[in-house]
Assembly symmetry: C2
Amino acid sequence: MSEIVFIHCFEVPAGREEAFLKLWGQIDGHMVKQPGFRWRRLHRSLDDDTRLRFVNVAGWGTAAQFGAAHDEEFRRMQANPGWQEFPAEPGLYMVEREDHL
Amino acid sequence: MSEIVFIHCFEVPAGREEAFLKLWGQIDGHMVKQPGFRWRRLHRSLDDDTRLRFVNVAGWGTAAQFGAAHDEEFRRMQANPGWQEFPAEPGLYMVEREDHL
């Protein structure tokens, strides 16, 4: 089954992980209930010095479903000024190559 | 089974995708044969304007196994001057949260 993958990389200052996780969890709780959501893994760097401290990787059915999930409730949560502390880079991807042992 | 996740984000100029994939494939072919390698997905952005055009996400058993895979053959391939065209950000991660429908 084809899918698209949303990858969202975050910069999070050391010591601010819990504040980030609280904000992220609000939006995540909304997104996982939307049509087209399939799975997601939030990754946390082992090393505090990694610039991209958190990376969210999520599978969605289609780009249209992913777009539709960004509704009014999403925009309200995204407008929280707390997000200014956590620069982020989002992108939509297809899987180019995949292998499992 | 616990695992660590290696995430490697790459900038790739538009039109240079095949050159990138050739270089990446050389190192990838080495890594997938090393002890501790479990799986990897190479992602390619749907939009040429995404700064991080390719993102490799790979599961490994332990950080020590991942480190040991960076052997002399790896370093020889990594030293290829072709890589200078593709700025990259690597990091090792743990899975902080995971959900599947």
